[in-house]
Amino acid sequence: MMGCDTVSYGGRGIVVESISAEAWLIQRAQARDEAAFEQLMRLHADKLYNYLVRMVGNPTDAEDLLQEVFLRAYQGLPSFDGRASLSTWLYRIATNLCIDHQRRRARRVTTVSYSAQEDDEGEPTEWEFADPNAPDPLEALMHKELQQVVEQAIQSLSPKLRAVLLLYDVEGLSYEEIAQALRIPMGTVKSRLNHARTQIQRQVEAYLRGETK
């Protein structure tokens, strides 16, 4: 996304004409301009929330973490040097918070089972459904089932593998951006991606062979 002349962020009616516009917003936010920081939040909120929901496995915790990401970003913004993009920096904060969250959850040893895809009434919530381009209802149903298999497979990954897979395959970051966000070598990014994809692939294969639902 960096290097584009025009960057459009749909959905909330915000259009940043260029990367320099974001840089200007960052400068204003560093000078404690809350309106500028709010604009930055709106630019990055959906991407971060989408990442957080799949990292922690439920929307409620993801919402708390999203708030925490922005509060920490606001506190740390004066020291943000712009070497990495703001987006990468925010993903780093989000990933660190997710790992802390995971540790706390492991310590509590809760056995709450929660599906990331359904609310209490079993209905999908807060989704923005992508068009599967499948006019055939049966094909559309299979596509939805396959997505559920993939969602479950993502949740079964370790947090380290999950972070890399989500950042690359879902959020569309480059190897380099992921390496910066997670502070790991690019070779490790590739290796983790390979492992994560193999695990997902196995579960999809089992589904396609009819071994699972």
Binding site: D46, N50, E128
Partner: protein, 151 residues
């Protein structure tokens, strides 16, 4: 190249990142390998499902809450720094007070209460009666006359 290496190319193919030479090599392999043909279907289905996962949208109220928290009056810097240091003695004091309160609550006086005295006397008396009964298994009429006990 073995099948495992060709599987890596399958992901690159799904992403559209194969060089022409790699694409040619992969196609040649796929014509002869049924295993990799099946894996190709799996990889492409997985890639499609991953890239078309529905996207969550951040709840508006979450951003409003961040904004409200940013606008809330900040605590003084000295308090931020010292609040943890101040917490330890405060907790210690609370614990000490709690212990003292518990000690006061569970304190029992040395002098027995009237009810306890009455009960003790009752048992002593009963004991004495039993002793007398033991010494005189078949009490004579004199026993009842002198002790005042009745049958």
């Amino acid at each position: 190249m073995n099948c495992k290496q060709y599987e890596q190319l399958l992901w690159a193919e799904a992403e559209g990142q194969l060089s022409p030479a790699e694409a040619q090599a992969l196609q040649a392999h796929l014509r002869t390998c049924v295993h990799c043909q099946r894996q190709r279907e799996v990889v492409h289905a997985t890639y499609r499902a991953l890239s078309m996962l529905p996207r969550y949208r951040a709840p508006e109220h979450a951003l409003a809450q961040v904004k409200a928290r940013l606008q809330a009056p900040a605590q003084p810097a000295w308090w931020q720094r010292w609040r943890r240091v101040a917490l330890a003695p405060a907790l210690g004091l609370l614990l000490a007070l709690g212990w003292w309160g518990w000690q006061q609550h569970s304190y029992t006086p040395d002098t027995p209460t009237t009810a306890a005295v009455n009960e003790t006397e009752h048992w002593i008396e009963l004991h004495q009666q039993l002793e007398v009964a033991e010494w005189s298994p078949t009490p004579t009429p004199d026993y009842f006359l002198f002790t005042g006990h009745s049958r």
